[in-house]
Structure formats: structure tokens, C-alpha cells
């Protein structure tokens, strides 16, 4: 469960996030939808504890990201927008390093890595150095790295950006499986179809503010639009930045 309360963050004169509040409950997929530059990534970085908010709180399973950062991070797995792998290490070594940093080790860790490699269908690249990996291959390693400690809360920043059709399908499969396991999933996207297809709960962000939230049906009803795409346009006021 991820809770965000009245979150505000500025970079100099730029108000990136303004008074953002929402909850992402367990067992559901919550989508952060908004045009490029709406504040999705900044919100996620605040939740993850990478940045410090000006005001407001974020909590993961009840642990405040600022006051109890390490405890909060123990319950969270994050796929950042840049995958940032170690190019001179193999895919397996990349995953193992993060597992070890989370106090996993020995046989249990190796079994977990093997399971992730099987789940993500990446056995062919598992023991290659990640230098020269395609975006899809990098994404697989990065998501395996984020899930190695089986976190109750999973946050994915644009997980399908730059992926081909097959990789996108695989990624969506993983997200659905995480929901079936009863985990809390928060993911951001600017691709409307994807959000509409996957999400149980949608938080629409524009200009650093939450402009609407609810289930896809809620949003359709509220705007009186049959089509979800039209609903979004009605909410945001512009089609710009959405795909």
C-alpha cells in the first residue's frame, strides 16, 4: 500500500508537484497517467525516497519515506525510468548485486534469480554482460533487479517505454501476475490504451496536480464520455502529450 499525502516539490521556480494526494492499495494496479512533464516521475522519485519533498508525506506499508527511509525502501521495488545497468557485469550479476544489498544471499538468492530469469524469459541473455543489450533486454534485467526481494509494493516508471510488441506483452504479463499475488502496483505511463487496459485505478496528473482519479468506469461516467480517450481529453483539457 502506497499513500501519498499533499505532496509538493519545486525545482527552483518550477513547481513540479503540487499538493498531490492519492492511495495505491494492495492487489490493484494503480496507473499514474499524464502528459510528458506532468510530474509523474518526480512523484515516483519522492515516493521512492530519491528526492525530498518540500511538504507532504509519502508512506509505504505505513513507513514514512522520509522518517523511516530504509524500512520503507525494504517494502518497495522500483523500476526507474532510466534502467541504469552495470554494463561490465552480466545480467545475473546485476540482479545478484541488488539482491545482496537487500541482505539476500546463498541458495535462496540464486533460486530467486533463476525464477525471475524464467519468468521474464531471459535465459539466453542471463550470463552475458549487459553492454549492448537492447532496450527490451535492459528493461527485463532492470525489472528483475527491482523484484529480486519480492517487494509487496512495486513502482514502475514507464515500464513499456521503448519496448517492442513482444517485450511489452511480457511486461504487462508480469504486472498482471504481480496483482494476482496481491501486491500493490503503481505504474506511470503516457500511453492511454495501456493504462485503460491494465489499471484498476487511475490517477490523472497534469501540470503537477491531480486532476482526476478513479476507476476507468468512474472516469467515463464523470466526464460523460463513452470512450476513455475522450474522457482524458475532457479531464486534461488538451490532447497534447498523450499517446
Amino acid at each position: 500500500m502506497i499513500e501519498v499525502t499533499q505532496l509538493t516539490k519545486s525545482f527552483g521556480p518550477v513547481k513540479a508537484v503540487q499538493d498531490v494526494s492519492f492511495n495505491a492499495p494492495d492487489g490493484l494496479i494503480t496507473g499514474l497517467l499524464g502528459p510528458n512533464g506532468a510530474g509523474k516521475s518526480t512523484t515516483m522519485r519522492l515516493i521512492a525516497g530519491a528526492l525530498q519533498p518540500d511538504t507532504g508525506q509519502t508512506a509505504i506499508d505505513g513507513f514514512d519515506t522520509q522518517a523511516q527511509r530504509l524500512e520503507a525502501q525494504r517494502h518497495l521495488g522500483v523500476l526507474t525510468d532510466a534502467h541504469g545497468l552495470y554494463q561490465r557485469l552480466t545480467a545475473r550479476e546485476n540482479i545478484r548485486y541488488f539482491g545482496q544489498l537487500r541482505d539476500l544471499g546463498g541458495k535462496a538468492l540464486e533460486q530467486r534469480i533463476d525464477a525471475l530469469i524464467a519468468l521474464l524469459e531471459m535465459s539466453d541473455i542471463a550470463d552475458r554482460r549487459t553492454e549492448g543489450f537492447s532496450t527490451g533486454e535492459q528493461g527485463k534485467v532492470a525489472i528483475a533487479r527491482a523484484l529480486v526481494h519480492q517487494p509487496q509494493n512495486v513502482m514502475l516508471d514507464e515500464p513499456t517505454a521503448g519496448l517492442d510488441v513482444m517485450s511489452t506483452r511480457a511486461m504487462r504479463g508480469v504486472i498482471r501476475q504481480l496483482r494476482e499475488e496481491g501486491r500493490c502496483i503503481l505504474f506511470s505511463s503516457h500511453i492511454m490504451q495501456e493504462v485503460a487496459m491494465l489499471c484498476d485505478n487511475i490517477v490523472v496528473i497534469a501540470g503537477g496536480r491531480v486532476v482526476a482519479q478513479g476507476s476507468p468506469d468512474d472516469l467515463r461516467q464523470r466526464t460523460g464520455q463513452e470512450n476513455l480517450e475522450d474522457a482524458f481529453v475532457a479531464i486534461i483539457g488538451t490532447k497534447e502529450g498523450l499517446v
Binding site: R45, A48, G49, A50, L51, Q52, R69, L70, E71, Q73, R74, L76, V78, T80, A82, H83, G84, L85, Y86, Q87, R88, L89, E93, Y97, F98, Q100, L101, R102, D103, R129, A142, R145, A146
Partner: protein, 390 residues
């Protein structure tokens, strides 16, 4: 905590051992110094190639030079221009009237054309000059004997050069080489881990792996300690290698016979020198990491850390060459203090224990302050955003 730090160290070392550049860098310096030493030591005893203009005017002098390890080459007619252009380093000019003056017992002057700005040129000219002086005093002595006068009468005030440096044969050259030892160590300390310090900090951010790394539930200081210790280990390794190579190269009997340099520095001196240099390595790595972590990009980090490395070893290079008499306070300045300690030790002078302790503590304190500042930086969001801390 220790287990996690060890995991971080192991990853950084593995990661960088697979990078040819970071392994190549310290090795490059080691090899570079190997070459420097070789050319330095070989220069002295290699046959001296000397261009002579008018060799036919003084066959005896030329023969003497030839017997003393000089290769006589014929100089072009425009010898002076050739030296000015830099084509030739040194030319010995023997004028036509040489023979006539020589037989009459008058001073028969020869001229050495030298480009002083060319270092190997002045070394060669120095050797040529001392050989000709030797020839001159030999002939002078013979002339005095021929006139029934003892040659001793011509040397009114002889000077005996007594070297107190360990080792007597070739002591002069050996002491120059000893002066180089702390410079070799200082360079290795400042350059050995410099590439890695940049790669592990600014490099990690530029490759965008820093943010995911810092989202692990690990206190940030552990990342700093782990990365620091990895770079520190590399630096110490580079320092040991450079020192060992330097000594091995000069310790090989063949090279000693060949160069006439006897290196008589005891093991205790070398171990003490390595011990003295460890706090400097600690300071160097900590400062490099602090500066590299603050930089906005790898390029900027490289520029700044290079400045630190340069500023770190340059004083030792200068002071080892310049004949400055060390003042009391200079013994307390990090890097300069260590330079004098090592030089004094290899000369067999006793060290002032209080000075050694104080200087080492001061050096380590600067390192510790830099390390703490780096940890503080890692606890701020600027480290992820990559903006210089405002």
C-alpha cells in the same frame, strides 16, 4: 553493515577489473616510470654520440674520446646552425690551429656548441666537457713531468667528494635516483586510483545506475565507504607496484653493473616509506572522490580530479629537484612532509617522531574530512539530480 560494505567493494573491484581503462591506467604509470628510470639510468652510461667538426685537427684527443665510450660522428659544415635548429644536440668544434697551439704548449681551445634548452643535450655536453677536462689535465700533468715538475704542484686546493649516502660506488647518481623514489610513490598515490574515483562516482551517475543503487535500503554512508575502500585498495596496489618496479629495476645486478648505480636502500627504509605514504593515499583518494562526486559530469570530474592529482604530486617533484633547504614547518605539510621524511630516511638521517606523527595525522584528518563531506553529499538529493550543491 560490514557484509554490505564488502559486497559493494567486491562489486566495484570486479566491475573495474573488467574495464581495461581502469586497470590500464595505474599499469601505464608503472610502465611509464619504468621507462623514465631506464632512460634516466641508461643515459649516463650509454656510449655518448658526439658530432665533431675538424676531428682531423686533433687525432689524439679524438682517440682519447673514442677510448672513453664516445662514438665520434662527423659534424656537418654548418654545425652551429644545425645545433640552433635542434638537428644536433652537441657539436665539438676543433679549430685548424689546434695542432699548432698544442705543440707549442699554448692553450689549444676547442668549442662545444650546445643547445642548453635541450636536456639530453646538456647531459651529453656535460659528459663531453668532463672527458675533455680529464684529457687536458692528463696532458698538463705529462708536460709538468717532462719539465721536471711534480704535477701535484698544480693542484693547489683539491676537493674530495665524500658522499654520505648509503652505497659508495656511483653514489652521486644513486642519490639522484633516491630523490626520485618519493616522487614515484607520490605520483602513483595521486594517479593510481584517480580513474576509478571518477568512474565510481560521477561515472555511476552519468550511466544512470546511481539512482537505482541508492534506492536500496542501505545507509548512504555505506556506499561511500565501500566505493572509497575499493578505490583505496586500487591506489595502494598501484603504489606498491610502482615502488616495487622502481626498486626491482635498479636492484637487478646486471643493471647495477651496467649503470654503475648501487642501490643500497634497506628493506626497513622501503617499508617505512610505504607506511608513510599510506595516509597520503587515504587523503588523495578521499579528496578525489569528494571532487568527483560534486562534479556534474564525468568530464568535469576528470578535469577537477586531475587538478588535485597534479597539485598533489607537483610539489614533491619540484622539491626533489630544487635545492631548497627544508624548513621546520615544511615537514608538517601533507605530501611535502612525507617527501622529506622518505628522502631523509634514505640518506640515513634520523626522523623526528613527533613530526612524523603530526604530519601523518594532519594528512589523515584532511582525508577523513573529505570522506565525511562526501557522505553528507550522498545524503542530499543533489547526488541524484547531478546538480552542483547549491
Amino acid at each position: 553493515m560490514l557484509r554490505r560494505i564488502w559486497i559493494i567493494i567486491r562489486k566495484e573491484i570486479l566491475d573495474n577489473l573488467r574495464d581495461r581503462r581502469s586497470v590500464g591506467n595505474p599499469l601505464l604509470y608503472v610502465v611509464l616510470f619504468g621507462f623514465l628510470n631506464r632512460t634516466f639510468t641508461e643515459q649516463a652510461e650509454r656510449p655518448l654520440a658526439l658530432h665533431v667538426l675538424g676531428a682531423a685537427n686533433a687525432p689524439n684527443l679524438v682517440q682519447f674520446l673514442d677510448q672513453n665510450n664516445v662514438d665520434i660522428l662527423e659534424a656537418p659544415a654548418d654545425a652551429e646552425d644545425a645545433v640552433r635548429r635542434g638537428d644536433l644536440a652537441v657539436v665539438l668544434v676543433i679549430p685548424e690551429e689546434f695542432g699548432e697551439q698544442f705543440t707549442r704548449g699554448q692553450p689549444a681551445q676547442v668549442r662545444l656548441l650546445v643547445d642548453d634548452s635541450n636536456q639530453s643535450g646538456s647531459i651529453a655536453a656535460g659528459r663531453a666537457q668532463s672527458l675533455i677536462n680529464q684529457y687536458s689535465s692528463q696532458i698538463g700533468a705529462l708536460r709538468l713531468i717532462a719539465r721536471g715538475v711534480s704535477p701535484a704542484i698544480s693542484s693547489a686546493v683539491p676537493v674530495e667528494w665524500v658522499s654520505t649516502t648509503a652505497g659508495n660506488v656511483g653514489a652521486n647518481t644513486a642519490s639522484v635516483v633516491l630523490n626520485l623514489l618519493p616522487v614515484v610513490m607520490m605520483t602513483a598515490v595521486f594517479y593510481g586510483g584517480f580513474y576509478l574515483a571518477v568512474d565510481a562516482t560521477a561515472g555511476e551517475r552519468e550511466r544512470k545506475s546511481l539512482e537505482p543503487l541508492l534506492l536500496n535500503p542501505v545507509p548512504r554512508r555505506e556506499f561511500v565507504i565501500g566505493k572509497f575502500l575499493a578505490v583505496f585498495a586500487f591506489t595502494l596496489l598501484a603504489t606498491f607496484l610502482a615502488t616495487a618496479l622502481f626498486l626491482v629495476l635498479l636492484g637487478i645486478p646486471q643493471i647495477q653493473n651496467f649503470t654503475n648505480i648501487q642501490l643500497n636502500v634497506g628493506w626497513s627504509v622501503i617499508l617505512a616509506a610505504v607506511g608513510l605514504i599510506i595516509p597520503v593515499a587515504f587523503m588523495a583518494v578521499a579528496l578525489e572522490m569528494l571532487v568527483a562526486s560534486n562534479a556534474r559530469s564525468v568530464k568535469e570530474a576528470q578535469t577537477y580530479t586531475q587538478l588535485i592529482a597534479f597539485a598533489g604530486f607537483l610539489p614533491s617533484l619540484f622539491l626533489s629537484v630544487l635545492p631548497i633547504r627544508p624548513q621546520e614547518w615544511m615537514y608538517l605539510i601533507p605530501t611535502i612532509g612525507q617527501l622529506y621524511f622518505i628522502t631523509d630516511m634514505s640518506r640515513g638521517l634520523p626522523l623526528d617522531a613527533a613530526q612524523v606523527v603530526l604530519c601523518s595525522l594532519l594528512t589523515a584528518a584532511i582525508g577523513a574530512a573529505a570522506l565525511l563531506a562526501t557522505m553528507r553529499l550522498y545524503n542530499r538529493e543533489q547526488i541524484i539530480l547531478g546538480k552542483s550543491s547549491a
